[in-house]
Symmetry: C3
């Protein structure tokens, strides 16, 4: 275990709202997290990921993805440092031959030392895996915690059968909470005022969105579904602001002329997912995740979904995604968010930022999110759960 990246207890005691959320520097435990896209893991292929500070080795066997702790029980080395799989269902540690089954984590053999008493008596931690909409989800939680349905941990609509999903993922040098709050933050729209996406998607993009009352933010807390906070952008809830005035002088204008007034609502869901609906055009929705990697990095996994009712629509959408929205939206537009998060990270890095920040009215949805997450997350990732920092996977290649 490594305590260095965790939140100081004395500081935490001074946090008045959302204390569990602030404490969850490495994320919320006992939730489903997307790790990569299914197409990144071919049959028989294995690859390592780091989720919530835990190093995990994924392998696709007979079509199904399995996940085990990427750390040999014997000497703690990462199995992925030099992958040796001598049978389809096992991995053998490159160092001393300890061999584990992906299915249950059991130490089933030791290559070179057949007779050891530990064989069959020890096992690696395993992780439940679920594949949906082209994403591989891993449940990072306690051994005695039965995973809930995946549907409880993704934004509403994401699992709809007709939704066709494409996306990308990358590592961002900021804590996962900075990712969530950048995405869900309505007034950060200011940063995007010159984005290439404005013309590409013919957006009417205001400089700001002013909340009109306390009901702009709504919680959704169904027992049998995901839990999240909605920020509604209808005419009763917010007023889009297209002109900025400084000391009485008009200095700046938003993109008022576009025909697409999107989005209608933005919502944030446990454990760490954002839905922007519709976006960037009326037919598509963006779902994205800010998956904790370590104290200073998150996996930014971005997707766009569109309803398609037949194969031809699916093919057309795949082409459109790669030609237009991957370069102009997920890259061009969201690249600004990436550097904004990295520029925000130092202020929050030692957690004093949570005490010194000065939020204002439009940040009400973020406060709601912090409260909801603190009240409804299933657990907090603790120092004893995480692996040594030297092996953290900080690359998606």
């Amino acid at each position: 275990m490594d305590n260095s990246g965790f939140v100081d207890a004395a500081l935490l005691a001074r946090v008045r709202v959302g204390r569990e959320y602030v404490a969850a520097k490495y994320g919320f435990r006992n939730h489903w997290y997307p790790a990569l896209f299914g197409h990144e893991l071919a049959e028989g292929q294995a690859r390592p990921v780091t989720l919530l500070g835990e190093n995990i080795l994924l392998k696709r066997i007979d079509g199904r993805v399995h996940a085990i702790h990427d750390r040999c029980l014997h000497r703690g080395v990462p199995l992925s440092r030099k992958l040796e799989c001598y049978t389809a269902g096992t991995v053998t540690c490159w160092y001393h031959g300890f061999t584990y089954r992906f299915a249950d984590g059991v130490l089933c053999d030791i290559a070179g030392t057949a007779g050891s008493a530990v064989i069959g008596r020890r096992k690696l931690r395993t992780y439940p895996v679920s594949e949906a909409q082209g994403l591989v989800f891993v449940f990072v939680g306690d051994a005695d915690h039965t995973p809930p349905p995946l549907a409880h941990d993704v934004p509403p609509g994401f699992l709809d059968a007709e939704l066709a999903v494409h996306g990308k993922r990358r590592v961002v040098a900021a804590n996962w909470r900075i990712g969530c709050e950048n995405g869900f933050d309505s007034t950060h729209i200011f940063i995007h005022k010159d984005s290439v996406l404005v013309a590409e998607a013919d957006l009417a993009l205001p400089l700001g969105l002013q909340p009109l009352g306390r009901h702009a933010f709504q919680r959704q807390l169904d027992d049998d579904g995901p839990k999240g906070v909605f920020d509604n952008f209808g005419p009763d809830e917010v007023r889009p602001v297209f002109t900025a005035t400084i000391e009485g002088e008009e200095v700046l204008h938003g993109a008022i002329g576009g025909s697409n007034r999107v989005p209608q609502d933005i919502s944030m869901w446990l454990p760490c997912a954002l839905r922007v609906r519709p976006w960037p055009v009326p037919e598509t929705t963006q779902f994205e995740w800010y998956v904790p990697i370590d104290a200073d990095h998150h996996l930014y996994l971005q997707t766009l979904g569109k309803r398609c009712t037949n194969e031809r629509e699916r093919d057309d959408w795949a082409r459109e995604f790669h030609a237009r929205w991957l370069p102009k939206a997920l890259d061009g537009f969201n690249d600004d968010d990436v550097w904004a998060r990295e520029a925000t990270q130092p202020f929050y890095a030692d957690d004093t930022g949570w005490l010194e920040e000065q939020l204002f009215e439009p940040d009400g949805n973020i406060v709601e999110w912090r409260k909801l997450a603190s009240a409804h997350a299933r657990g907090i990732q603790r120092p004893e759960h995480i692996d040594p920092p030297g092996h953290t996977v900080l690359s998606v290649d």
Copy 2:
């Protein structure tokens, strides 16, 4: 706040002489510090600096330089990460449009969210600025501390109307106190024995300067002026040593033949300025500052001044400075000081060096400086004053 760079209290308790000085790892508060040269800041130009661990944004407006804290109140991001100035007198945060006046730091508008209750009610920290002799000085201090005249915080003579000043600045990877003590240290002359400056300035440069008595070091403590320590090099105070002997064998000779026997005195002034008079030739004086940036870096701001009584003398001096003294003195000669400081830094980095060092007789002036600074500095920079390390400005470009 970040405590990591500060001095351990138990260690500090063991320091017998100059305790406040040792405690001032980030510098002395409530003093004037030079940040850059005036010509580095054109009309309308803004640029960030870090002084004593505080990130500060400077802008020249209608000829006058203003300084505000380079950290948005809202989310703590540096305004300078992407400068957006929509009016001459303000800066708008690139993230959510928070707009601050340089004149008083007041949050005067929020671009995109006009109606917020926080507008006009919050303000950024501002810093008094004074421009003199081509340098921009910033007062880093408490809001309720009225800045003294600049003349109290620069070496005597620096503000003389006839003095024409030129210089350069750079970042050195050593604490500011290591900078002060390298500059003021008389026996470090040993390091310069092979300098290109010896021939260029026809120097009689001894290998060492042996103090002859206790009155070699003199304090200057006028109520209405700068406070500092003089190290006099007249024939009654020190004996220049031109021959080094090891176990009876003559092994080394200083540059005895030069016609210029400079300097006559070297003096160190609060908060962190050195005067070498005259240097490197009888007509010029070197004034230089070791301005704290963070625990491990200082801004080394070097100047040479020469009395000029008319425009032609000023032009000649400017040409001479750039052709001769910039390359041979401020670079060539002082480059040796820069690496000496960086080589000394590790021993003092965790502050145990202050306890383990073994000073000798000629270091008396340094001990005087530590005492004077401890007794007369106006305050110590504390952890609560400094900004997160991620945004520290460590470049002069």
Copy 3:
């Protein structure tokens, strides 16, 4: 002193076996350590090394190697930063001229400040040096600890007059204990299964070596000789395993056909030396050291020795070493060990690995080694002994 690299006391209290060994993160004090090869230090040449966190300056004077602390008493700078030796037997600090004798460390003069009272009254720490078999050994210990004969601190046989020794050294990014345990570990043979050395040395290299009983590991604890642990590989002690089976399926075969069944025994000696006998061919023996540098690095000093009875045999052996065994054994084969150690280091970096590791039967020799080292080492390197990290020598060039 710097405490950061040392073992947490609460953690140490939880270690049940080999506590002193775990505590010795910077090595065991009062032992002889090889620093470099004698041919790396020509007559009159000086060079710095870091052993057990102490910076040491070596110089060969009239054929004999001397060692002094590489840190000026005055301001703590490393003398080696800019070496200035004005007489054969002294070094003069580049900063203020403090001049020390290599023979006794005494501050014998100050170049430029002849009259100081400290001259002759202060001295640098010195280190006993012994040169043998082409290696320069330094005794790192307390001033009042009389060094034992070098023969007590090297593996048996290493000092035999007829042994001709060649080798190389390099820095490995892992703690020295990780080095010892990688070298002494019998089942890590698994990592070498594809080594170029198998063909080069015509090795019968099994995949593993299964211990047959408790007497496989033997201590050697003569009062008048080195102390170590033997791991015997005779037919009564271990069974070589040439076939690996996973869940009943034969998946892998060792190099069974080779004619050279080596080694017969591997033994580990205080303070940090391994002997592999014979290796890689029946006529040669490998002796290697894992010398502590700092918490995260060791000097990997590898040698091969062969008995030679005349000059021609010595010449032939020198040629053979450089043509065959340097590239194929010390590099090719042991390169795998180097990356294995670096891959293991993060798990043990904060010392929790010592509590979380799960050893198995063949690790019995490693447990013996930890016990023997804990019981018989002459002291533990403590924070007060080590130098600031900024000057650690991490290069062999």
